[in-house]
């Protein structure tokens, strides 16, 4: 049932996004593709951190794997794009599995440290084997619009389409997964690992699985970014990127797929907006750091106003109408059903909200 509902919603979202993309100018299409790609990575990370309870400061490294996998497959083997994206997800997922095996033994700051190391070390691979990875210069490749769309179809629009379609597929799969037994198990081990183990859950396997899945999402994101920019360079996958992804997760709302969308939008759109804003308000080049400072200010304000992230804030403002953190449709449906059953007048806003006002995704059950 959930799958059918999510898939139906996904198809609607897909159509809306594609139509929206067609209406935009070329640069906005490019930005839309960037946002979609970024949201895929943030969604994967928010599941890892917010749902399975493991921290990664190194997700840029998995995007690096996905991006280079796509570039190499398209460049040398002429793989069709769709296949290259899937392959990138698999390769990054495997890399995530290796990291996950190590991560399963680590907790808290040690896990953070290990993933941080990965983000610092992996891009160095590109410098080590310059013949394969092109060193600092990276790899350039081309993507063509498929013939059936006609010769005049813009490349940026096609890139926007591909990214939006991939985004919707990933979101539907993730939303579904979070409603499944695996999603419930992850939440169980996030909230109390010992209790989860006593209840018979295979903690280590679940943790590795979360890492693999999250890395696969990052791989898809890296692949999409590469096909949007038509090149991959180590400079695109710096430690700063990993930290930004983490920022987007927290900013959007930990563990919330809808929050990932907010986070991705802020990450991609706010910096250029601030640059233009600073330029049109007469800040000279001597203050090139004005947009950077402005970005920091936006982050601080958002966290002060919405301590539970933007999605948390939206939920608080809109009450029961806004989608809950995980499983957009089913949460509302469930609440409505319960109200009807009980004929209750209880304010649904009170459900699942603890004394501090923090709403954990599933405490309503």
């Amino acid at each position: 049932m959930t799958l059918a509902r999510n898939a139906g919603l996904g198809i609607i979202a897909c159509v809306v996004l594609l139509v929206l993309c067609s209406k935009l100018d070329a640069y906005r299409q490019y930005q839309m593709a960037q946002v979609a790609a970024t949201v895929v990575a943030v969604a994967g990370l928010t599941v890892l951190i917010g749902v399975s309870g493991q921290l990664s400061i190194g997700h840029g490294a998995f995007m690096f794997v996905g991006g280079y996998a796509t570039a190499l497959l398209v460049l040398h083997l002429n793989w069709p794009l769709a296949l290259a994206i899937v392959a990138s997800a698999v390769v990054a997922g495997l890399a995530g599995g290796v990291m996950g095996v190590a991560a399963a033994r680590l907790r808290g700051p040690y896990l953070a440290g290990a993933t941080l190391m990965l983000a610092v070390a992996l891009p160095a691979v590109a410098y080590q084997w310059q013949g394969v990875f092109g060193g600092d210069q990276g790899l350039d490749f081309t993507v063509n619009t498929p013939g059936f769309l006609g010769a005049s179809f813009q490349l940026t629009e096609w890139q926007g389409w591909v990214c939006c379609i991939c985004l919707v597929i990933v979101m539907v799969l993730l939303a579904n997964l979070l409603r499944s037994r695996i999603g419930r198990s992850w939440r169980a081990l996030r909230d109390n690992e010992t209790a989860a183990a006593l209840a018979g859950l295979n903690v280590a396997r679940l943790r590795v699985l979360a890492f693999m899945l999250s890395a696969a999402c990052a791989g898809v994101a890296g692949s999409l970014l590469a096909m949007t920019m038509l090149n991959v360079t180590p400079g695109a996958f710096t430690l700063a990127l990993s930290i930004q992804l983490l920022t987007a997760v927290v900013l959007g709302g930990l563990g919330s797929l809808a929050g990932a969308v907010w986070g991705g939008i802020i990450l991609v759109l706010v910096p250029p907006f601030l640059t233009d804003f600073a330029a049109s308000h007469g800040f000279s080049s001597a203050s090139a750091s004005v947009p950077i400072a402005g970005y920091g200010l936006v982050l601080i304000i958002v966290m002060l106003v919405f301590p539970a992230g933007i999605q948390g804030g939206v939920r608080r403002l809109l009450g029961p109408v806004a989608p809950a953190a995980t499983g957009p449709v089913s949460a509302i449906g469930r609440r409505l059903a319960r109200r009807l059953e009980e004929g209750s007048t209880t304010d649904a806003r009170q459900e699942g909200v603890d004394k501090e006002g923090t709403r954990w995704p599933d405490t309503a059950n």
């Binding site: 891009p123 210069q137 400079g235 250029p272 330029a279 090139a288 750091s289 004005v290």
Partner: protein, 441 residues
């Protein structure tokens, strides 16, 4: 950030399309009289919008962040003195932090959203390489890349792209021939950026310096997480090679780190630097900043460094170009130091205005490319340009100089050469033309 006005783009685009259709029907020679029209994207009856990507923050920013403001100062001077056929130049330069992935995005913004007429002086070899295919695919003139990579000279694959400063192969050859002649038999080492910038440079050096004299080649990674540690390790290797001459193809920040590492290792070879990392004011400023010193500390460390330059020396106050640019500097950007970067930015901007005048009153993008393809007269540089339909290299020569008390002192006449392994390095005797009294080409 450059100030720029929001343009109503729909009418511009419509007019541009119309004018292109007309141009396709009629003659393609630039018109020399008549009403000013919106003849191309980015060109209105009153303005010319051009764009650039520049490192305003990040590792390449020290020094280089002055280039675009300096270019902009020259454009403002031109605007205040009649503009280009009456049109004012609006220069929008965006910060790419010397990171190719950001360059990719900002150049798309300039071309797809702002519809700039041309990309001007985009800075950096790795950064610009990431966008050159896109700029050419969009058929946007890509004038005077701020990088000496020989790769910009590819008229058949990148017909829109033109270099400007002397390319690193030529520069390497000129430095190499000097070192080969003056340091016969000594142990020589290379310190260079591990990309086309450094590799082109050592290619040129290799054409002139006997391989038997080269005892070490130490490449650095410009994106190193810890530049100081990276340079420290490489400097130790240079010292271990007992090189007596170190030739560097490095950006200013890494040049300063190299000099400081040498100091801490008590290693003092003769330092020879490409013009990229040898602007005395920039390097001494960085040395002071990194070592937390002030005063003459920085200058004393670069005293006697050998380098080359393709623009007149800032120390030569009798040069008409230096007095022109100093005047503009004092009027428009008095807060910036009058250093080699400011000189560079203004000189490149002057060359762009030269090309714009040559492109005609109502130029299309192709007119601008054609204008440069038919050659530009020598102006700000000490050597002539190579521009032709089959050659997109810029300045073809430079003179060797030594840094003394913070200024470049020429050690000889201008040398010119080509890109080939066997092409000779010869003396160029024609004197540099004087700057026009109006300051406008």
């Amino acid at each position: 950030m450059a100030r720029y006005r929001k343009l109503g783009l729909a009418p511009v685009a419509a007019l541009a399309t119309l004018s292109m259709m007309l141009a396709a029907c009629g003659s393609s020679t630039p018109s020399s009289s008549g009403k000013l029209q919106a003849s191309a994207p980015g060109i209105t009856a009153t303005t010319i919008l051009i764009g650039s990507h520049q490192p305003l923050t990040g590792i390449a920013a020290p020094g280089y962040d002055e280039i675009a403001p300096a270019s902009n100062a020259y454009f403002q001077y031109v605007n205040a003195h009649g503009g280009v056929y009456g049109r004012k130049i609006i220069y929008k330069y965006l910060n790419d932090q010397y990171n190719s992935s950001i360059t990719t995005t900002v150049v798309r913004q300039l071309i797809l959203q702002d519809h700039v007429f041309a990309i001007f002086n985009g800075l950096g070899t790795p950064t610009h390489l990431a966008v050159a295919p896109f700029i050419n695919a969009e058929k946007v003139p890509d004038l005077f890349v701020a990088s000496g990579c020989a790769c910009w000279n590819a008229p058949s694959t990148w017909p829109e792209t033109f270099g400007w400063q002397i390319n690193y192969i030529r520069e390497g050859k000129i430095l190499g021939s000097y070192v080969a002649a003056h340091f016969k038999g000594e142990r020589i080492a290379y310190f260079y950026q591990d990309d086309e910038f450094g590799l082109d440079g050592i290619k040129g050096l290799g054409y002139e310096i006997p391989a038997s004299q080269v005892v070490a080649k130490e490449p650095y990674n410009v994106n190193a997480a810890n530049p100081a540690a990276e340079v420290g390790t490489l400097t130790a290797a240079l010292k271990a090679s007992r090189a007596q001459v170190v030739i560097a193809f490095a950006v200013p920040a890494f040049m300063a780190l190299l000099r400081l590492s040498e100091l801490s290792l008590s290693y003092s070879p003769q330092l020879v630097s490409s013009s990229v990392g040898s602007d005395p004011i920039t390097i001494s400023g960085l040395l002071n900043a990194y070592a937390k010193k002030s005063g003459s500390f920085g200058d004393s460390l670069i005293q006697g460094m050998i380098t080359d330059s393709y623009l007149p020396s800032l120390g030569d106050t009798t040069n008409s170009w230096i007095s022109l640019f100093t005047k503009i500097h004092n009027e428009y950007i008095p807060k910036l130091p009058m250093d080699g970067n400011v000189l560079y930015g203004m000189a490149a901007a002057y060359t762009f205005v030269q090309a714009m005048f040559k492109a005609g009153r109502n130029p299309t993008r192709q007119d601008l490319v054609n204008a440069v393809n038919s050659g530009l007269p020598q102006g700000v540089s000490v050597a002539p340009y190579a521009y032709s339909a089959t050659d997109h290299d810029g300045i073809t020569g430079a003179y060797i100089a030594e840094i003394e008390k913070g200024v470049l002192v020429p050690l000889g006449p201008t040398q010119v050469t080509d890109n080939t392994p066997t092409g000779a390095v010869t003396t160029y005797t024609t004197a540099q033309p004087a700057a026009p009294t109006s300051g406008i080409p």
